[in-house]
Amino acid sequence: MWEQIASNRARSRLVVGFMGVLLVAAGAALGLALGGGAPEAAGGGAFVALAVWTVLWLVSIAQGDRILLQVAGAREIEKKDHPQLVNVVEEMTIAAGLPKPPRVFIVDDPSPNAFATGRRPDRAAVTVTTGLLKSLNRDELQGVVAHEVGHVRNQDIRLLTVAGVMLGAIVILAEIGRRALWYGSLSGRRSRGSSRSGGGQGQVILLVVSILFMILAPLLAQILYFALSRRREYLADASGALFTRYPEGLASALEKLGASRVPLSDQSRVTAPMYIVAPRRGTRILEAASAAFFSTHPPIEERIRILRSMGGGAGLRAYEAAFRKVRGGGVVGARSLASAGEVAAKRPEAADPSGPTERARLASDAILSADGYERIPCACGATLRIPPELAGLVQRCPRCRASLVNKGS
């Protein structure tokens, strides 16, 4: 994976630089459009964009992970909240050789999904949805966590975090420009009229070019961002297989995730590439169109087929061979392959005794416990969880209407 890490560093700079150029160009276009075609306005716009870019870059380096976790509505959990998840993260940390386990976050969302974020491998976070915890057994969960830990280990997370924050900024800037043009069309017409006396045919062309650019900038940024994230997904899958030594776990998890019809509540364009499978959108038409052009992820079926063609191996070589067979071309770099040993896949562990009912309870327990709910058992067999806001106020069990024993007394 060494080339991958080196290439990630180089690409990080490239992406930040390219996005900076795009942002400055978009700012210039915006200035041009608002200033009615005056060259000084373009310079001003570019300068403002440059300032915005610098601030964004600094913010995304320092706070990017926190911003994205906040946008996704993630809550940090401890071992007591969901022991199985935290154990799996710890196991995969050891398998990947990370300096320390990533922090573990949960998003309360019925759609099964997961993502990793952070600045460095020792300051990373792995986030899963409650839907994921509910639908996957231990082997599958391990596969997904290993995939995310793979992103941490391959140093994808910083690039994704920085690119995510910057992409968000370009989208917002272009949106401001579009609206300013729309609402400012009246004043624009006036200034165009005055410039005609100064022989401003070239300025009209400039205006058209700047409008075109404002439409294209977010699109270009997105294409770049997504093209980067595709190869990363394959490599994280390869890491997932390697760390678990059980490719079928991840394959079967991806199958479940791909079959899920529940849309993710968080449908932000910015956080989409962070998830293990592209978040399902609400409308079908949008989904089909975005799948064709802006898919952040390789098709799930293909990823599953590659994992299932590894022929009893679990190492990078087996993944590379399977990738060549299914898709053609290579994905793992030559240097990583040379240093990779043959790793045999292990046999599946004993069947997971927990059924869907128990998994659902453990998943919601984790989120309630992270949210500070108090747990009060009632004599009727029900267990109540009282939100912090109602602590001390609920005196009767809603099921049997018996008085509850107050914990404090």
Binding site: P263, S265, A360, A382, I386, P398, C400, R401
Partner: protein, 138 residues
């Protein structure tokens, strides 16, 4: 999560590893998408419940009913009238299928309409649901 009817925070009640969200103030109950079916897994009636959920989702929305917000996704919920219940009940369904909201006395009526009184499983269901399956005291 907050009660769609009175905005108070919901209390989580867990019975036999199945959870439902109950409003301590108005006694309304929220069932997440698979929770209602999970609840009936143990009495072998999850299929009836799944078909009930499908039937409810296929009902046309009530034109004049007030539209509450889904406690999960805060989208306006679809209000449907289940005419087979006696008396008929008006339920709130999340448009994204996040779950169903039952007001105070609606759950027992819906269950009575869906599961015949003679079915031996009904007793077990009632025992399982406790006070939730009985009409609330006035």
């Amino acid at each position: 999560m907050r009660c769609p009817a009175c905005e108070k925070p919901l209390v989580v009640v867990e019975v036999d590893q199945v959870e439902l969200d109950v409003c301590a103030a108005c006694e309304g109950k929220w069932f997440d998408a698979q929770e209602l079916a999970l609840l009936f897994e143990k009495t072998g009636q999850s299929e009836e419940i799944r078909s009930l959920e499908r039937d409810l989702a296929a009902l046309p929305p009530e034109p004049d009913a007030p539209r509450r917000r889904c406690p999960r996704c805060s989208a306006r919920m679809k209000t449907v009238r289940m005419a087979t219940a006696i008396p008929p009940v008006v339920l709130d369904l999340c448009p994204r299928a996040d779950g169903i909201w039952f007001d105070r006395a609606e759950l027992p009526r819906v269950l009575a309409a869906k599961i015949p009184e003679s079915a031996p499983a009904l007793e077990r269901v009632k025992k399982f649901l406790g006070g939730f399956a009985a009409p609330p005291p006035s």
